[in-house]
């Protein structure tokens, strides 16, 4: 059962990576507005003022 001593830290590490990824999405503002992006996807590509580019500005 000593394999547990490798598996458990790995599981915790994976969870930590998941949390870190979520924290990144929150900190870059991706969770600030959950409503509008759903409508933005309806516009044709040439309609959009490429919000992704403007978002890149830190």
């Amino acid at each position: 059962m000593s394999v547990l001593w490798i598996v458990i830290p790995m599981a915790l590490l994976l969870a930590a990576i998941g949390v870190a990824a979520f924290m990144w999405t929150v900190k870059t503002g991706q969770m600030d507005d959950l409503e509008t992006p759903a409508t933005r996807i309806l516009f044709d590509d040439d309609d959009v003022t490429s919000p992704d580019e403007t978002d890149a500005v830190p």
Binding site: A11, V26, D32, T36, L42, T54
Partner: protein, 821 residues
């Protein structure tokens, strides 16, 4: 054909090309395929088309967005470039790009997102425009060398969205940071709880099937680490809350939570290190996670109320045109204006001060304080209040009161004070918290005493178990959750509710007080009826065509589709305060008051005069029309009742409510409306000032809960004092900050739905509280009996939370009628 009883045509209604609403008859342009219901819509349509954005309309059609009239007011937004404004609302980032958030009135659908986010293509220098549809807030970023905020706001205004600063930039940033931190806390707590539960499952399995002692110890230490991290990192908000409550010497739901968490943590740590006894880290970390979720819902709810209050300050004009000693006009921030200064108010502007007119003649819209939207003539020596809109010509005003000292300022202050007081510091769950702690501590003591005979260790174990399982987890989750779900459903039906704290007051029927103008009625003067010779209607319209008087403007409305005849008008003579006289198609025509008819020596018509008198008693304005010296017709003008007013009043009465009217209008007019709606005469209060309305609400409140329904600033004081205040109009209005709920569309029929939904929400909250307390009682009983193993606790706790969750999601609170999607 009987011209007198002929119904008004409905089928031939012309619709506005921008918003799709019916175009008032007077604004219909014959032969044009572009019809507009108002100037704002015309501006918006022209702006959208001239900038190549016409796809907006196709997009709106395709995405199924409902159209709304443009909200623009044609303002110049000069104050947005003011130094004080810049300091408060504009941020500059290191690249020299300026950023600001603006609240936009009138954004409502996906096509609006498209239009607003395309503005960078129209304005050179605007680099980013992102709309948050839920909050109706646009985030703008621009290069100050090439663009300025005034121009950007003007363009948005032209597109039909009136712009207001969304709040101080520092405040907005702080709030965003707080939101993000809360989310991160939930994520961390969730991950820790998930892993602690995985370890716990292994430990429980090991309990039944045997487990290597080294692994068991390792697992227990690991879950101790996870549990400790959960309590000390994301869970520390509860300790902060509990400490705050202790310092303020009040009860708070955080106190029993902090108690359970700390006891569980300490007991668990001791047992983990001793390597014997129970540990509770799975339960504790799950608690932290669930409680943080509950807290999140609660904060969301409070946010709406705070937002509305912030908007209040966007309402008052922020700049004034001051005339200095040399006679030149300078623009000044409103804070620098002092009593005694002369202020110029241009046409279309709202007056920034309370004062006396010293030069100019104009018409004023005083609806912000009186609620009556009929324009009033004013000239030298007349007083006007801040917020009054100057409709026609520039005037100069000597300031008597400025800022908070103005009548508007005092109303705003009053609303603000009340609204802040209203935000309950102690919610229902918090009120229960004190009892809860007392019970739990007492029961823990009893448990300890019962088990003391079988050894101190067992007694400690059972008392600890009791303290942990009776953590009011479901209790903290129940109210916010039911409320959040109910408010979400209500919003889909077109009602924005700020919080469920006041729902309790509408559970049992009391008194509903309606404002009249704009609430029970449409709030606009229209031509209601034409008694007598129908042929004269279009002739009078032609006669009145040149006049600017509001009543004349209404009479000048005509439907070219039905009356294509062009009349020949000559020798028009406007008699101020009386009416108009002139020759139309060779006949001498006069339209005006009864005095005008007497002055002209018109041959009377008793039948017509009697009918006119009857209508005047109903509060309608009558205009007499004479042709060739004989009284021939009477035009009836008035403010029409909303089509749903009568049925709403009936529904409320059948539900047991007493219905009344409080209005600033004349008593006889109010009586007439009350009579039409079947409201008892003693409940019809007319001639009420904003303060009198507020007092009336207070008076009724002594006997029973009062629901006040109104619109506009003049009702705000009454709305904020009522047990439950409802504003019928959305937008950036003072009533918004004052009311507990407001309707997104002008439909009074929502009121009974709102009251019923509120009652059901209260019932659902009580059910959830009962269920969650029931679980706590069962768990406490088991703990006292000494049969509560950590495994039972670990099952019982999530099950209770899940039950509450299920009940909250499926409670029939607000139900949309079948017809809406």
């Amino acid at each position: 054909m009987n011209p007198v009883t002929e119904p008004r045509p409905v089928a031939t209604r012309v619709r506005c090309i921008h918003c799709g609403l019916p175009v008032p008859k007077g604004l219909v342009e014959p032969g044009s395929d572009r019809q507009f219901c108002c100037n704002a819509c015309r501006t918006a349509w022209t702006a959208i088309n001239s900038t190549g954005m016409s796809e907006y309309y196709a997009l709106r059609e395709r995405l199924g967005g409902d159209a709304q009239p443009a909200k623009s007011d044609g303002g110049q937004y000069e104050e947005f470039s003011d130094a004080g404004f810049r300091a408060r609302h504009i941020q500059t980032d290191p690249q020299g790009i300026e950023r600001c958030e603006l609240y936009l009135e009138g954004v409502h659908c996906a096509a609006c997102v498209w239009l607003v986010e395309r503005t960078p293509m129209v304005i050179d220098g605007l680099v980013e425009s992102r709309l948050d549809l839920g909050r109706a807030v646009v985030s703008l970023a621009w290069d100050p060398a090439r663009a300025d905020l005034s121009t950007i706001a003007q363009t948005l205004d032209h597109f039909g969205y009136r712009a207001h600063p969304a709040g101080r930039s520092s405040q907005l940033r702080a709030r965003r940071e707080a939101d993000r931190e809360a989310l991160i806390r939930i994520a961390i707590a969730g991950a820790l709880a998930g892993n602690a539960m995985l370890l716990a499952i292994a430990l429980y399995a090991g309990m039944f099937e045997g487990m290597d002692e080294g692994i068991r110890f390792g697992f227990r230490m690991l879950s101790a680490a996870l549990g400790t991290a959960s309590v000390l990192w994301p869970g520390r908000v509860f300790f902060r809350g509990a400490l705050g409550a202790i310092r303020a010497r009040t009860w708070h739901l955080d106190m029993p939570i902090a108690l359970a968490l700390s006891i569980g943590l300490v007991a668990g740590l001791v047992n983990a290190i001793r390597n014997s006894g129970e540990i509770y880290f799975d339960s504790i970390s799950l608690l932290v996670f669930l409680l943080l979720c509950g807290r999140w819902f609660q904060q969301r709810g409070h946010r709406t109320a705070a937002d509305a209050l912030d908007l209040l300050f966007a309402l008052t004009p922020s700049a004034a045109h001051v005339v200095d000693d040399a006679g030149t006009v300078v623009e000044m921030a409103i804070d620098s204006v002092e009593p005694g200064m002369t202020v110029e108010v241009r046409a279309g502007e709202a007056c920034p001060v309370d004062g006396v007119i010293i030069s100019g003649m104009t018409t004023l819209d005083e609806s912000i304080l009186t609620g009556e939207s009929r324009p009033v003539r004013a000239g030298q020596g007349d007083r006007l209040a801040a917020g009054t809109v100057n409709l026609s010509a520039p005037i100069r005003v000597i300031a008597e009161a400025v800022g908070d000292k103005t009548r508007l300022g005092m109303v705003m202050r009053d609303i603000e004070r009340h609204a802040r007081e209203h935000t309950p510091v102690v919610g229902q769950a918090d009120r229960l918290a004190g009892w809860f702690i007392a019970c739990v501590v007492m029961l823990a003591g009893v448990t300890f005493l019962i088990w003391a005979r079988s050894g101190v260790e067992a007694a400690f174990a059972h008392a600890t178990a009791l303290l942990i399982v009776s953590c009011p987890c479901a209790l903290a989750l129940a109210t916010p959750l039911v409320t959040a779900v109910a408010i979400g459903r209500a919003a889909k039906m077109g009602m924005l509710i700020k919080g469920a704290d006041e729902f309790e007051s509408v559970v049992r029927p009391g008194v509903v007080l309606f404002d009249k103008t704009g609430t029970l009625t449409i709030g606009r003067f229209t031509k209601l009826d034409w008694i007598g010779d129908r042929q004269l209607e279009s002739k009078v319209a032609a006669l009145e065509a040149g006049s600017m008087h509001p009543i004349a403007r209404l009479l000048a409305e005509r439907d070219p589709a039905r009356e294509p005849v062009q009349h020949h008008v000559e020798a028009v003579d406007h008699r101020v305060g009386l009416g108009v006289v002139g020759m139309v198609d060779g006949h001498r025509l006069a339209a005006g008051s009864l005095e005008l008819m007497h002055a002209l020596g018109v041959k009377p018509n008793h039948d017509l005069e009697q009918q006119a008198e009857a209508r005047a008693k109903l509060g309608h304005t009558v205009v007499f029309v004479a042709q060739d010296g004989t009284l021939a017709a009477v035009a009836v003008l008035g403010d029409e009742l909303r089509s749903e007013s009568a049925s709403t009043v009936d529904r409320l009465r059948s539900a047991g409510w007493r219905v009344g009217i409080v209005s600033g209008d004349r008593q006889d007019v109010v009586d007439a409306v009350a009579d039409t709606l079947g409201i008892e005469p003693e409940m019809a209060h007319g001639g009420m000032s904003p303060t009198a309305k507020a007092e009336c609400v207070e008076r009724h409140k002594k006997n029973s809960p009062v629901v006040m329904v109104g619109d506009g600033v003049n009702d705000a004081s009454a709305l904020v004092r009522a047990s439950f205040g409802v504003a019928v109009r959305g937008g950036a209005e003072a009533s918004l900050a004052a009311a507990h709920a407001y309707f997104l569309r002008p439909d009074l029929g929502l009121l009974p739905d709102l009251i019923r939904g509120a009652g059901r929400t209260v019932a659902a909250i009580k059910l959830c509280l009962g269920v969650s307390l029931g679980y706590n009682v069962i768990a406490a009983g088991l703990a006292m009996a000494g049969v509560l193993s950590p495994l039972v606790a670990a099952v019982l706790m999530p099950v209770s939370s899940l039950t509450v969750l299920g009940l909250a999601l499926h409670a029939r609170t607000f139900e949309a009628p079948e017809s809406s999607r």
